[in-house]
Symmetry: C3
Subunit: 255 residues, 3 copies
């Protein structure tokens, strides 16, 4: 299932494919996609296995990659701006390996940039990995529930209390497997597709600096890339300021 | 002596206790507290020994802690948002150890977060420590005067010249002892009180990054914390933009 | 040749001397200087050998220094705010050594701050140095052409495409020699001239943090300095927001 947001006729300039992250579904992008439409751009937010309405918990990173890549191919989209948020950063890396010929630019929005052979979990401080492993075990092993306190303080730190609670109520336990898979990314590091990093400067999910963090730690792995910054957090700014996010995605995605 | 700022009747939502830093007194918070009142919150800015009208120079960190904790207890405040600026960060750490049951959240605003057994001076680059020691010796050993040039360039860097001079004229030599005391903070690191870090992004008092700095170096010691950022410097932004500081303290302090 | 921008009569407050960087000429400062004038300040933007209308490619860092210092002396300017952008940072270091008595304050705007005995190239990540050496060899050895892609993504990342292309069309190959010269900066580190660092927070020319970067890596070499920040990139913000840059230069340059 893919949410399709169509721009006004004649206004099409860029075609965005927006890939969400963990503890989220394609609805993450709803308001941002509408704002991109309003600016005259097309936006697609593909859903992937184990998320949205799909109850599966044993999905693999390869299945997620395949779902996103197939959706782009089935629509025969070309020259797309492929955006990945959070865990979605690792997905756009693998999708870019699969269908590089359809991609005009890749944009990471506080997204993981893995080195070849790494997993998403490898990017997290050891205490966080331990916490996630304990949460997974406590819930039966295949999913990681998101505690409200962690979500409120580090995923939605700029939200007021009611918005943080509203957002958290919709969060489902995340399939654990893909977070711990080591990925073969050799082809990614040979690609010459232009890349951008949109950094939301108040994102509290990763430590900022000192060996971790979205920027400059992850972004610095991209070689030559376009840096765009905006004030925002990981989960709530797309809801409270979707116009800002859309404008910054255009700055990140345009030629 | 404590400055009490009362909010309008019926508007009370949060109760802030605002702890100032070195080379300052409770007047540091005057305008910010008024803005918090205007937003419907209570705000108290306790003065502590060796500051404000008190001429003592041989105060200890424990005496400062006791004064703040006693003031909170005497007023029977509960569920407070305990805010510490600069040196006041180390004070809210020790106050939190003493009266954790009265505290709803601790908020560091460019405040020191000491590890167990450390002093505030341990957080400073060695040349700054040497400068402070020389200034203390030159002034008789018990206080550290604040040179205008250092204050203007690094404490009030966003101020215009007249404001920097006006603020500096009110700065008294700081009792040196508490800055060099090693603190027992074992209990602090066992507390589960929620914590926030408000980072003023143009604060020039500490080097930004590379092993020093308010954020992410100090803030990173808090474990899970809520990050809030605002453009500001160490001493003048509370005077020029108290409404901004108050709004950000509410974002940092709310549930 | 020096571009002279005169403020309105009676409005003179500060005298700025604005030193441009590599792959640029004095026209870099045109709009900013006009805004400084509008704010009542004088602004001079000296051109130096091998740039602007001068076709020489074998210029030395000493010749550039001499040209800027001579221009200041010839106009008998005193108490100046000496601003250096990018490579111009290294120039204001050497100019400050030559004519310290004429300088009221030095301001680095995303400018290199070299340690004694270093070159500008020493500040760049090794892959960038290699790229520049290859570009120099490919062009005959004495100049480094600026590839559009590198310029667009890292020098003008905030510009839209048409502006990036417009700016890049005016970029001439940069004389390579001065970028690789090791400079004697012993006197600079003995100077007591006040210094400021204006950091444009979206500048993508250097990696941000982790051993490189304008701030805090370069700025941290200045000892006590005034920090001023503004949102901007390396090359396009002076064109799109010259009023912002001028206001921040005044904040950086005033007493």
């Amino acid at each position: 299932m893919t949410h399709v947001y169509s721009g006004a006729a004649g206004a099409k300039q860029l075609t965005f494919v927006l890939v969400h992250g963990s503890w989220a579904d394609a609805g993450y992008w709803k308001e941002t996609a509408a704002e991109l439409n309003r600016l005259g751009h097309e936006a697609f937010a593909p859903e992937y296995p184990g998320h949205g309405g799909d109850p599966r918990t044993d999905v693999t990173h390869a299945e997620i990659t395949e779902a996103v890549a197939d959706d782009i191919a089935r629509r025969d989209l070309r020259g797309i701006v492929l955006v990945g948020h959070s865990f979605g950063g690792s997905v756009i890396q693998t999708v870019a390996q699969r269908i590089p010929e359809r991609i005009g630019r890749i944009v990471f929005m506080d997204g993981f940039v893995l080195l070849d052979g790494q997993s998403v979990a490898d990017q997290l401080p050891p205490p966080v990995v331990q916490q996630f492993q304990q949460l997974a075990q406590a819930s039966g092993g295949q999913t990681i529930p998101m505690p409200y306190e962690l979500y409120r303080e580090t995923f939605a730190n700029l939200a007021d209390g009611p918005l943080a609670r509203y957002l958290h109520r919709q969060v489902l336990p995340e399939p654990a497997g893909p977070l711990f898979e080591k990925l073969d990314l050799k082809r990614f590091y040979g690609l010459t597709i232009p890349r951008s990093y949109l950094y939301l400067t108040s994102d509290g999910v990763l430590p900022q600096g000192e060996g971790y963090g979205w920027h400059p730690h992850m972004s610095g792995r991209l070689g030559v890339f376009r840096l765009i910054k905006a004030e925002g957090d990981h989960m709530s700014t797309v809801k409270t300021h979707p116009g800002l996010i859309a404008r910054k995605l255009v700055e990140a995605g345009r030629d």
